[in-house]
């Protein structure tokens, strides 16, 4: 579970002045139980204690409305311990990392975004807890004062939902089956993270003293998503930052429709037939959207000496990240809704005799619903990148660039 990119309260000064939650005059916070779970204790507790874990697991079972078994093992890691654990897992990328270079040229990540030190530092900062499929246990990351009982209890509910999901649907196998690209990875993860976030936030309402039965949940999940969208664009590596928010916020909004319609069974039905594109998640605004069948732009053949390095689909979300760099957010979003398929090709240039780094070329072929949408995307792309070569043919837009001066005409072969 990742930390939410939450807005700060404008009236925070007032809240901070309020301080004194232990003030006897403030009285005990009255917690409204989540409807249907009135029999369960909603109070936050010390997650290191087994009794607390059992209490929250029972609550997680009730919140989810399905699942069974005993609570998984729970442990805590300090930030240094978690960093050490991650250092043992994160593999260094190939050097030179042409994929990273390509995304840097597209302004989707900052340099070194995929270096292990960057990845580990980001995770240590932002990860609050993790459910480990291999060992079927939960680890809560102890962020010191920030990890109070309320936060830790909320995180444990989230991770318990993952444990229950894993018992119903083998999460790792499902990811391997469906998540073949950036686009499908974010979409598929949106189910598991979305369900966990959905119930975590229902629990958060109770923790906050808000009556979960009185909340307009569609407003809540839409609003969280909007804040997260804005947050992503403030990051130096929006492509990477999306991992922290897209599956959670877009997934929660998406699964809330299923939850409202048919509870646990309807959610499980979504797991049986997961959305495979971020387009489906992004366009599920008032109800779950019907998926579009993405186009499959043909494989590009580079000139002699060049070799394919990566072949990815960034989806409507990636398109939005690209266009939203300069176009007004609303325009970029509307254009991304017209996404109908894409392929991003990254090529490594020939090795030079003088030992200089080989060139990196990136060609992103994007298909849209119609010519007008492609033209809108084209306009945004032209405004964005003076060094990019762009070409629109009908409803297809191609964006190409290279970190060395080379002829990229081959990228635009129809």
């Amino acid at each position: 579970m990742r930390a939410t990119a939450a807005p700060t309260l404008l009236a925070l000064g007032l809240v901070a002045c309020g301080g004194g939650s232990e003030d006897p005059s403030a009285g005990a916070l009255h917690r409204f139980p989540v409807p249907g779970c009135e029999a369960f204790d909603h109070a936050p507790c010390d997650v290191r204690e087994e009794a607390c874990q059992a209490q929250l697991f029972d609550l997680a079972l009730c919140l989810r409305g399905g699942g069974s078994g005993a609570p998984p093992a729970v442990s805590l890691m300090t930030e240094p311990e978690y960093a050490e654990y991650l250092n043992g897992l994160v593999e260094p990328p190939p050097q030179p990392n042409h994929y990273e270079r390509a995304l840097v040229m597209l302004r989707l990540v900052a340099a070194a975004a995929f270096e292990p030190a960057t990845v580990v530092a980001e995770r240590v900062t932002n990860v609050l807890g993790v459910y480990r499929h291999a060992t079927e246990d939960v680890v809560i990351i102890d962020h010191g004062a920030a990890t109070d009982d309320e936060t830790a209890s909320r995180v444990l509910i989230h991770e318990f939902i993952h444990a229950l999901q894993d018992r119903d649907v083998d999460l790792e196998a499902r990811d391997e089956e469906y998540a073949s690209s950036y686009d499908s990875y974010l979409a598929v993860r949106a189910l598991s993270e979305g369900e966990a976030r959905l119930h975590e936030i229902r629990y958060l309402a109770s923790l906050s003293g808000v009556d979960p039965g009185a909340v307009d949940w569609r407003v809540r999940f839409q609003r969280s998503l909007e804040y997260s969208e804005g947050w992503v664009f403030e990051q130096t590596s929006p492509y990477s930052a999306a991992y922290d928010v897209f599956p959670y916020q877009w997934g929660a909004r998406y699964l809330n429709f299923a939850w409202e319609a048919g509870g646990f069974d309807a959610v499980l039905a979504r797991f049986a037939s997961p959305p495979l594109t971020t387009h489906t998640l992004m366009t599920s605004i008032d109800a779950a959207a019907e998926p579009v069948t993405p186009s499959a732009p043909a494989t590009l053949t580079p000139p002699e000496g060049w070799s394919p390095f990566a072949d990815a689909t960034l989806g409507a979300w990636g398109t939005f990240l690209l266009l939203g760099q300069t176009a007004p957010r609303e325009t970029a979003r509307a254009t991304a809704f017209g996404w109908r398929g894409d392929r991003l090709f990254v090529f490594a240039g020939p090795a030079s005799a003088d030992g200089a780094e080989p060139a990196t070329a990136v060609v992103w072929v994007m298909d849209f619903a119609d010519e007008a949408t492609a033209a809108a995307a084209h306009t945004s792309a032209v405004v964005n990148g003076a060094v990019w070569i762009t070409e629109r043919v009908g409803a297809r837009l191609t964006v190409a660039t290279c970190d060395q001066v080379v002829d990229l005409a081959w990228a635009f072969v129809p």
């Binding site: 309260l9 916070l29 003293g209």
Partner: protein, 173 residues
């Protein structure tokens, strides 16, 4: 909070002769002014308690923004201050916090915060009813009503609207 208002009162304090008895304070302004004038007169302000209170009430109509219990506890804390402390930096802020620790949450605040916290929660802000009650128990029903009117503005404007209300409230003090 209240510091600026109090400073203004004592920078312009003059003596007025007032007639009448000693009725119990009935308003936030009266009860606060009773407390603050008590210490001010004790500490050498050239005024009588009665004239000080009268001037204080007329000079600071914004005191009605305080909840009565908050104004009472605030004024009571001030009235008990040592003169050196009273004229020192932070005396009013300290008493405001002391008052906060003494004021109980009333039913109106409780019901307001149920609604207000829900609005904030729906708009994805992190804000608990306890935090809400701790803030709003100090403010009058009128302030709460002005804030409650912000609930109709929607999430985009909610926070700014509440901020504007408090800007006005502080300006009135």
């Amino acid at each position: 909070m209240g510091n600026r208002a109090a400073a203004m009162i004592f920078s312009t304090l003059t003596t007025f002769a007032c007639a009448g008895g000693d009725p119990q304070p009935e308003t936030s302004a009266e009860v606060f002014c009773e407390g603050v004038c008590s210490v001010a007169v004790r500490c050498g302000e050239p005024s009588t308690q009665r004239s000080c209170v009268g001037f204080c009430i007329r000079q600071e109509p914004g005191l009605s923004n305080y909840a009565f219990d908050a104004a009472s506890a605030y004024g009571d804390c001030l009235s008990k201050l040592d003169c050196v402390v009273f004229y020192s930096e932070g005396a009013f802020e300290g008493c405001w916090e002391t008052a906060r620790s003494r004021v109980a949450v009333d039913e109106r605040t409780r019901s307001f915060c149920l609604e207000h916290t829900r609005e904030y929660f729906q708009c994805a802000y992190s804000f608990t009813t306890q935090e809400c009650e701790d803030i709003y128990k100090m403010w009058s029903d009128g302030v709460k009503e002005r804030v409650a009117a912000c609930h109709a503005t929607g999430c985009d404007a909610l926070d700014a609207c509440v901020g504007d209300v408090f800007d006005d409230v502080y300006a009135e003090l």
